[in-house]
């Protein structure tokens, strides 16, 4: 493939090497800054899902919500390895999600290198990925989203190029794909999109990839099934159905109840122009004459995941957009690398980076330094105020565990919650991610896009 560097023929090899060296030093420095930022964020539970993962590090029991369905065994296994280092489950979870998130930009850069073979495209991908507005949430949420993305990138990057020995690479790629699925089974459409595109483009790769994936997934599935038995499947059906139609806030939820992905996207600074460029990149990649399998598989994964979240995921959880942001950046770089006019290529990537830098300024990550998650801040406030009752659907299980003296009502049971608040013997509040009409007793601001600012209202404020 023609690459970004081709137009640099006028430059001497030495100068280009010097530019590349400066670029890599800047990349390493940026990654170090990101790591320092992450280190400055105190580990704290951001959601019930994080609370469930925390429990899973010491007891794995999916029916018992340690963690929630479908179990995320690969992510839990990595968390348990981290636990050997930290000896503290919360720190282990923070280490796992943080390390995974920090590994994503280098993995994305590796994939871009495999697709384009150009140092400039590789560096551009690194910065585009690192500056992605959802990266801080991937790192600080303690959740498994980053792990699925990371190992999928490894899968795509390991796919062989022409004239490369294929069998071992494909087996390793299969291992990575299997581990990605073990870490993040709920990203099945994302992973299936990439896998199916690969086997459609290169039929003969199927056996080696399948063997690699099976090497991971067969024992993992055996362990899960041995622990949970047929109830796992029953719980799976119940969970999928309930997630789609009730608590998941999906397109299948009762009319009027669900938010839209477009408005969710618009809540991230400058995300709409970035998304337009990403979509243009996908279109160019699909229409291009030269289509490396890894680029096409990346584009297929993007499309499959976009369709999946549009129908089955909760627009309140912006982290579901993270795979699109990551893959979209790689596709954009891969797609524009195939365009013949060098200044145009540079202009597109510079525009995208400028959009991301503007978003970063708007997000102001410095303001998040030293702050716990909104849920943890709310817990601290409630712990000091000692109300009698709180109704919420944000972190019900975590709040119950950490505030045993407070009656925590699940707002999914609205009638029960209203009754509980009405009969409270002391002060009572609603904790919500949706601003209500009324004066909030306290506001717990989000640290980054993907987190929800939480509002605490007196119970008298109607829901």
């Amino acid at each position: 493939m023609t690459v970004l560097a081709d137009g640099g023929a006028a430059l001497s090899l030495g100068v280009r090497r010097a530019y590349a060296a400066c670029g890599w030093i800047a990349a390493a420095a940026a990654l170090a800054v990101a790591a320092l930022w992450l280190r400055s964020i105190p580990p704290s539970l951001s959601s019930d899902d994080a609370f469930f993962f925390l429990h899973a590090l010491t007891r794995f029991s999916i029916l018992d919500f340690s963690p929630q369905f479908p179990g995320y065994p690969g992510y839990v296994a990595m968390g348990r390895v981290a636990l050997l280092i930290t000896h503290d489950p919360l720190a282990a979870l923070a280490l796992t999600s943080g390390a995974v998130a920090l590994a994503i930009p280098p993995a994305a850069a590796w994939l871009a290198w495999r697709i384009t073979g150009a140092a400039s495209a590789t560096l551009a991908t690194f910065f585009i990925t690192l500056l992605g507005p959802l990266m801080p949430d991937l790192a600080a949420s303690l959740l498994s989203d980053g792990a699925g993305i990371l190992f999928q990138l490894v899968f795509l990057a390991l796919l062989p190029k022409p004239n490369e020995p294929a069998r071992l690479r494909l087996f390793l790629a299969g291992l990575a794909l299997g581990w990605a699925f073990a870490c993040r089974p709920s990203d099945a459409p994302l992973l299936a999109g990439a896998f199916l595109a690969v086997v459609v483009i290169r039929h003969r790769w199927l056996p080696a990839i399948a063997v690699g994936a099976a090497t991971v997934l067969v024992p993992v599935a055996a362990i899960v099934y041995a622990l949970e038995g047929p109830l796992y499947l029953e719980e799976g059906l119940r969970f999928l159905s309930g997630h789609a139609t009730i608590w998941g806030n999906t397109a299948f939820a009762p009319a009027g109840d669900h938010a839209s992905w477009l408005s969710a996207l618009a809540s991230i600074p400058f995300a709409i122009p970035a998304a337009i460029l990403n979509l243009a990149g996908v279109a160019i990649a699909i229409a291009a004459r030269s289509r490396p399998p890894a680029l096409m598989a990346t584009a297929a994964a993007f499309v499959a995941h976009a369709a999946w979240i549009a129908a089955f995921q909760n627009p309140d959880h912006l982290r579901h957009l993270a795979p699109l942001a990551t893959l979209g950046g790689i596709i954009l770089v891969g797609a524009v690398a195939s365009l013949p006019v060098r200044p145009f290529r540079i202009a597109v990537l510079a525009t995208f980076l400028a959009i991301e830098i503007a978003a970063l300024v708007a997000i102001d990550p410095v303001a998040a330094i030293g702050r716990p998650s909104p849920l943890a801040a709310a817990r601290k406030w409630l712990s000091a105020g000692r109300p009698d009752a709180v109704a919420t659907n944000e972190g019900v299980f975590a709040l119950r565990a950490e505030l045993p003296a407070v009656r925590i009502y699940d707002e999914h049971y609205a009638a029960d919650a209203n009754l509980g608040l009405a009969t409270a013997s002391g002060t009572a509040f609603r904790l919500t991610g949706t601003p209500l009409r009324g004066v909030a007793a306290a506001v717990f601001p989000a640290r980054c896009p993907g987190e929800r600012t939480l509002y605490l209202y007196p119970a008298s404020v109607a829901n």
């Binding site: 019930d48 007891r59 029991s61 029916l63 018992d64 919500f65 929630q68 024992p219 055996a222 362990i223 041995a226 622990l227 038995g229 047929p230 109830l231 029953e234 719980e235 059906l237 119940r238 999928l240 159905s241 309930g242 789609a244 139609t245 009730i246 608590w247 299948f252 009752a389 299980f397 119950r400 565990a401 045993p404 003296a405 407070v406 009656r407 925590i408 009502y409 699940d410 999914h412 049971y413 609205a414 009638a415 029960d416 209203n418 009754l419 509980g420 009969t423």
Partner: protein
């Protein structure tokens, strides 16, 4: 080739059936909770919503779906529970409905924990019974006294651990521990004010 085509059609049919099953299946509970239909939990929101709205005809309809389970509880763990619900509905007393529900949930916890004790050698059965006891605890957690909730939150996982684990093809297997289960059960019953 015909066999391959037939196999492909079969796989496709199974996938479509699974998708339809997942999409059309009724949600069996209103919140993040574990396996299996539970009429008391599944009908809870409909009952409470109707009571809160003062729609007592609708409340009676919601109660009808719970009748078989309430009838069982009435004859075993919670004598008089059906009357408690009926009286609350007749008196149009939403607090009474909630109080009756808490009593019923405590009875269900008692029933499931005793069931797990009686099936301690059967890992799957015992596990689902304790998990269902946890679901009932979760449903009424906010309505229990703080100390009781704290004690239950600690004792229910101990009961699960005491069930043991079959391991993977025997590897990592752990036998059930009746003494540990009995201790956990005693703590659960004490927290709920039940006679062990």
């Amino acid at each position: 080739m015909k066999r391959i085509a037939a196999a492909r059609r079969l796989v496709l049919a199974l996938m479509v059936a699974a998708m339809f099953g997942a999409a059309s299946g009724r949600a069996l509970a209103y919140s993040y909770a574990a396996a299996g239909a539970e009429p008391l939990l599944d009908g809870r929101e409909a009952l409470f919503s109707a009571a809160a709205a003062g729609d007592w005809a609708k409340a009676e309809t919601a109660l009808t779906a719970m009748k078989p389970d309430l009838d069982y509880l009435d004859g075993h763990e919670v004598p008089g529970i059906e009357k408690a619900f009926d009286d609350a509905v007749v008196a149009k007393d939403s607090n009474g409905v909630e109080a009756a529900f808490v009593r019923a949930a405590i009875g269900e916890i008692e029933r499931r924990i005793n069931g797990a004790r009686d099936n301690l050698g059967d890992y799957q059965t015992a596990k689902v019974l304790v998990v269902k006891a946890q679901r009932f605890y979760t449903a009424v957690a906010a309505d229990l006294a703080p100390d009781a909730g704290k004690a239950l939150a600690a004792a229910l996982p101990r009961a699960l651990d005491a069930i043991g684990n079959p391991g993977v093809f025997g590897v990592g297997a752990r036998k059930a521990d009746p003494a540990a289960f009995a201790a956990a059960r005693a703590d659960i019953f004490k927290a709920l004010g039940l006679t062990p």
